[in-house]
């Protein structure tokens, strides 16, 4: 077998077993040569050459001497320091070291580093080794560089030089070493130096196979790190043909590269689909021995198969019928093979086989167009759900989650509900239970919602703490989404609070309040239920909050029953008061003032409570102020005024469920798939897609329109508060010198102290509200759907650039070209029909949500209502920015494809920064302006984590694309970026200054914007922060 390091000749006695002073592992390796002999001594079963997990466990022995390195940590450190000092002196010594010694010491340094100690020298010696013509010296040099790369620019130049020489050496072994090093380091400097050469090596006719393999993956690494550095060109066409290469290893390496390139430029690599299909077909149909060393435990080329299947997932199903037929045949073969008896009992055999199977299923799900295959996939996964291998059960649950969202297989997935529920109850591994919970969530629809929700609630009682919050969110969402009667919904949420109150976040209990407020058919039931729940001797504080709010609003609905008469309600709530936190007590005080209005008979009792020293002189300012203000309000205001001010809360305007948003944040995109997917259950969307007020309440409020009743109470408030301030005693005014007028108005504005997230969107100031006599007519057709989930992400892509593909799916591609000057812009939208069938009734429209119409004028030209298969139509938009705006217009595209209506809403890539005009200025001017904009509200700042590699050039390009000028020599720190510009609108100009401070070490940025308009600062800051 391999001749590892030399060493048998060394016969030191600590190599013997049982030697008294056996040195510890780290010491031993410092003594290079001793390794092999020592190992031989302690090895029990020698001569075992076949590898398997079981056999390895016999030989991968733990030796006590090695498990406790060194007598003590200090001894080890002492020893290491001594050795480091020795190496340092050797390197510094007058005598030039020969290559061999250099290699030895560099290798020791590496070892010490890998033990976890810091190494701050030896880099130069390692670099010297690179240019040695002895292979082993070169090899150790490269290893050191790969493991301990240092961004010292001087060294990088030397390293690159050595790599350059090796790449040019025509010695394949040296070339591979150099390529490995580039792939291991993958830095931008290396990209700059070599990104142009490597494609040449990759496609050169005379490159050895092993060199091609390394070149492909080396290029992949550079492309991932800095795609801008890799020039596309003639080589790309030839790379695709590596899929046909004779050498399986070359194909294996090339597929990874091609897959990555495809994702960024699908059109340029389209030809790879048919090549990949034919390669896959050849592998899948080959006998288990055909591929010799590329067969793994009787499975032909499993790694390559998986990679090819991944590559195909970059594209829609092949259009060419022959290719498609061949592919479907492959997929069927894989599914058939899964049913055959295994060729080996080894787990490696079944893992490799199933790896291909799962990847095949992923492709089937990706295509989502072959009902037959989808159902077969589902049945196959169903078998795995009860497999004895935990790994397979885990993967089956995971994969079924995606199957559940396909209309073809949703029903088939549902048939496994009992098995999945059982998994939730009996799996011993929490990560498997988590998958089961995910799957239940994904397979839930109206028909099984009650069962699933009740099972999840039951599971919650014993669930692991780590996943409780997520389960709570899921239950809350399902309950809302599939509620047929809202009493069930209310019961479910109250159960959630009872079972896992600590994990019920604000979003969840805010939501139940919103829904109860908006639906008057459930209000009485909700009041009765919370009243009962509050009777429990120990109830969760969240229950008190929900109970307080609901009784304060709707307690009158159950007041007729003597068991829940007003005094009983009040004393029940007040019995919890003293045990609650300040926030809850503040909420309860609001409940009390609402009680005075609902139940005049409780007025004296409640005034007594408010007047008590513990409230009026409470150390907490918020509680004190509420007590003082409410007490005064209840004494000075007439019944009519009270009734108006303390009127029932108006319905909440609909918006995306905040719970769903939270789950998405927690789980990343795709988490809400069960709900986003309206096509599966179209009826549900209308009823439960959002909570709409029942017909008896006011018509659907739109975010821009405010509510009549609310406005009325505000009007009264303004009158009232001017009177009130005369009566208020000084302590309550302690917050602001101007008395409590602004304070109180904000209080009532937010509905007497209910949690602010619950407020209907309040206008900026009451005056603005009063000045706006009528809500603007709804500008767009009502049936425009909400933007697709990715709309924001797509929009973000265009913040710093003007051209590109805005959207693409299997049917349609939308491209954008735009230019902006001053406050004007022109945009060309290109709609491409990707199918071979004509689109009919094609109508793209631009919609201005809210009052955007007054801020941005978009004039669109009509387009033909038919788009032929494969054709592209163009639409011109003229854009004028009237004043600053925050939300982009929506682009709604509707058409019929094969008779089925399609609709799609996107965000038009027009953001305020498009109207930036860069402004150059000197440092002095900049700082003068910076200081002028020093009001806190003029500044917006964000500290955030880098999402992309931090690269100064890329950052510069982005900032220029954003629209501002870049000012050099302004910031004393050259790493920082400073920019300036003016946003041009018809009505006004907004000057903007920005500063971006990268912190490479922490991989963070701090972005500061100052503009003369507060919302603009914040908005620009948000937009730009997304880009890094």
């Amino acid at each position: 077998m391999g001749t590892a390091l030399t060493s048998r000749k060394n016969g030191r006695d600590y190599g013997r077993p049982g030697a008294k002073s056996a040195p510890s592992s780290w010491e031993r390796v410092l003594v290079f040569g001793a390794a092999k002999s020592f190992r031989d001594c302690i090895r029990t079963g020698s001569g075992v050459s076949q590898a398997s997990a079981a056999q390895l466990s016999g030989t991968l022995l733990t030796c006590p001497a090695f498990s406790s390195p060194g007598k003590s940590k200090e001894a080890e450190i002492k020893r290491i320091n001594k050795e480091l000092a020795n190496i340092r002196s050797k390197f510094k010594g007058d005598k030039a070291l020969d290559g061999y010694s250099k290699k030895k010491y560099v290798c020791k340094l590496l070892f010490i580093f890998l033990l976890g100690h810091d190494i701050d020298f030896g880099h130069m010696e390692a670099v010297n080794l690179l240019s040695s013509n002895k292979y082993t010296e070169k090899q150790i040099g490269y290893l050191f560089i790969s493991v301990l790369v240092n961004s010292n620019s001087e060294l990088i130049r030397l390293i690159n030089n050595a790599i350059k020489n090796d790449l040019a050496s025509r010695n394949p072994t040296f070339m591979c070493l150099a390529l490995h090093c580039i792939a291991n380091v993958g830095s931008r400097e290396m990209g700059e130096a070599f990104a142009a050469d490597i494609p040449r090596i990759l496609v050169a006719g005379d490159s050895m196979d092993s060199v091609k393999q390394s070149a492909a993956l080396c290029l992949l690494r550079l492309y991932k790190a800095s795609p801008d550095l890799v020039p596309m060109g003639e080589w790309t066409a030839r790379v695709v043909h590596l899929l046909n290469d004779q050498h399986m290893g070359v194909v294996t390496a090339a597929v990874s590269l091609i897959t990555c390139l495809c994702k960024k430029n699908p059109d340029d690599f389209k030809t790879c689909v048919s090549l990949a299909v034919s390669r896959l077909s050849r592998i899948v149909s080959s006998a288990s021995t055909d591929l010799q060393d590329y067969t793994y435990y009787f499975v032909p080329a499993p790694w390559l198969s998986v990679k090819l299947l991944r590559l195909l997932q970059c594209y829609p199903p092949p259009e060419d019928a022959a290719v498609k037929g061949r592919l479907v045949e492959c997929l069927e073969t894989v599914l058939n093979k899964a049913q055959e008896p295994p060729k080996s009992k080894k787990v490696q055999h079944s893992n490799a086989k199933n790896a291909i199977l799962f990847e095949t299923i992923s492709l089937i799900i990706h295509y989502d167009s072959e009902p037959n295959l989808l159902v077969r996939a589902c049945n196959q996964l169903g078998q795995f759900l009860q497999h004895r291998e935990t790994n397979l059960r885990y993967l089956a649950l995971e994969s079924m989650c995606t199957l559940a969202s396909s209309e073809f297989s949703h029903e088939a997935v549902k048939t496994h509900i009992d098995t999945v529920i059982n998994a939730l109850k009996t799996e011993r591994d929490v990560s498997v239970r988590q998958r089961a919970a995910d799957l239940l969530y994904a397979m839930c629809d109206r028909s099984n919602a009650k069962q699933i929700v009740s099972e999840m609630l039951r599971y919650l009682e014993t669930a692991d703490y780590a996943i409780r919050e997520e389960i709570v969110l899921k239950v809350a969402i399902l309950a809302e989404k599939y509620a047929v009667d809202y009493s069930w919904y209310v019961d479910t949420i109250l159960n959630l609070i009872r079972i896992a109150g600590d994990y019920v976040s604000e979003e969840v209990w805010y939501r139940v309040l919103q829904i109860v407020t908006n639906r008057d058919d459930v209000q009485g039931y909700a009041a009765k239920t919370v009243f009962e729940a509050l009777q429990a001797p120990a109830c969760h504080e969240n229950m008190v909050k929900v109970g307080g709010y609901i009784l304060g609003e709707f307690g009158n609905l159950i007041a007729g029953d003597p068991r829940s008469s007003p005094p009983v309600q009040f004393s029940l709530l007040h019995s919890k008061f003293h045990l609650c936190s300040v926030a809850t007590r503040a909420l309860l005080l609001s409940t009390y003032i609402k009680f005075i209005n609902l139940f005049p008979e409780t007025k004296a009792t409640i005034q007594g409570v408010l007047r008590a020293g513990s409230q009026l002189r409470n150390a907490d300012v918020e509680l004190q102020q509420r007590a003082v203000e409410y007490l005064t309000l209840s004494s000075v205001a007439s019944t009519d005024v009270l009734a108006t001010v303390l009127e029932e809360m108006p319905p909440f305007p609909e918006r995306e469920s905040s719970i769903l948003a939270k789950l998405k944040r927690k789980k990343g995109p795709g988490a809400g798939s069960a709900l986003d997917d309206s096509r599966r259950d179209p009826s549900s969307h209308d009823i439960n897609g959002g909570v709409e007020p029942t017909p008896s309440t006011v018509s659907t409020p739109s975010p821009s329109a405010d509510l009549p009743c609310h406005r009325l109470s505000l009007l009264f408030l303004l009158l009232l508060s001017s009177r009130l301030s005369l009566f208020l005693s000084p302590p309550s005014c302690c917050l602001s010198g101007t008395g409590c007028l602004p304070r109180l108005s904000s209080l009532v504005c937010s509905g007497i102290g209910w949690p602010s997230e619950l407020e209907p969107p309040a206008p900026e100031s009451p005056m603005a509200l009063l000045a706006d006599p009528a809500p603007a007519a709804d500008p767009g057709p009502e049936d425009i759907g909400p933007p697709i989930p990715e709309a924001d992400e797509l929009l973000n892509k265009f913040v710093c650039r003007n051209n590109g593909v805005l959207f693409e799916n299997q049917l349609l591609q939308i491209g954008v070209k735009s230019e902006f000057r001053q406050n004007l812009g022109r945009m060309y939208l290109f709609y491409g029909n990707k199918t071979s069938v004509q689109f009919q009734n094609f109508s793209p429209t631009v919609v201005h949500p809210g009052d955007l119409q007054t801020q941005l004028a978009v004039q669109t030209k009509r387009v033909a209502s038919q788009v032929d298969g494969g054709a592209q139509v163009q639409q011109v938009l003229n854009i004028e920015c009237l004043r600053d705006f925050l939300t982009p217009p929506l682009l709604s595209v509707r058409f019929r494809y094969g008779g089925a209506p399609q609709s799609l809403t996107l965000k038009l890539p027009v953001t305020i920064n498009k109207f930036f005009q860069p402004t150059e200025m000197a440092a002095q001017d900049f700082f003068q302006r910076w200081k002028q904009l020093s009001l806190p509200q003029q500044e917006a700042q964000k500290i955030f984590k880098a999402n992309h590699p931090m690269d100064a050039e890329v950052t510069k390009a982005k900032l220029l694309g954003f629209g501002s000028a870049l000012l050099d020599n302004v910031d004393p720190n050259p790493e920082n970026f400073v920019g300036a510009g003016i946003i041009q609108t018809k009505a006004l100009q907004v000057g903007c200054l920005l500063r971006l401070e990268p912190n490479a070490q922490a991989q963070m940025y701090r972005l500061t914007l100052r503009t003369s308009k507060e919302p603009v600062s914040r908005h620009l800051c948000e937009l730009l922060a997304q880009q890094f």
Binding site: T6, Q55, T62, Y100, N184, V432
Partner: protein
């Protein structure tokens, strides 16, 4: 694949390979966190777990844990077999490998890994081809072996 870690049952890191740029601090943090998480798991549990936004695939061979971090769309089972194939390669090269081989000949473990995986992707799955590459290098080394002879004499 984003990185691969080998550590012992005692939590000692034996080999680390990073395919994404990370600071030393971050690497140490990740290692600490993962070693702890994986060591806490019981033998019969499944070999995959979600961790941050990555998937962790791990397997224990005798006293050593092999642990890979892969991305969301990557295939867990094939990763498990990447681990196994690497163990096979080590085993074949060292002649039934043990933890000490990896400690003492860490550079070989790295070289073998580089031949098998590059930039986080499988480069060559044929056992023969990988070992051929390594043995060629060893041959080059043999020819220069004379110099190595003196090594043990002047240690420390």
């Amino acid at each position: 694949m984003q990185f691969m870690l080998l550590f012992s049952r005692q939590g000692k890191l034996r080999l680390q390979k990073w395919y994404v740029p990370l600071s030393d601090k971050e690497k140490k943090k990740i290692t600490r966190e993962l070693v702890q998480t994986v060591l806490a798991r019981k033998p019969k549990m499944c070999s995959f777990l979600e961790w941050r936004d990555l998937k962790i695939v791990y397997k224990r061979y005798a006293s050593l844990y092999f642990c890979c971090a892969i991305e969301d769309q990557d295939n867990e089972l094939i990763t498990l077999e990447i681990i196994h194939r690497y163990v096979e390669l080590l085993d074949k090269y060292f002649g039934s490998v043990c933890e000490l081989d990896i400690i003492f000949n860490f550079e070989k473990a790295y070289f073998i890994l580089d031949e098998f995986l590059l930039g986080g992707e499988v480069q060559e799955t044929s056992k023969k081809n990988v070992l051929k590459a390594i043995e060629q290098a060893d041959l080059l080394q043999e020819s220069q072996n004379e110099e190595w002879g003196g090594l043990s004499e002047d240690i420390l």
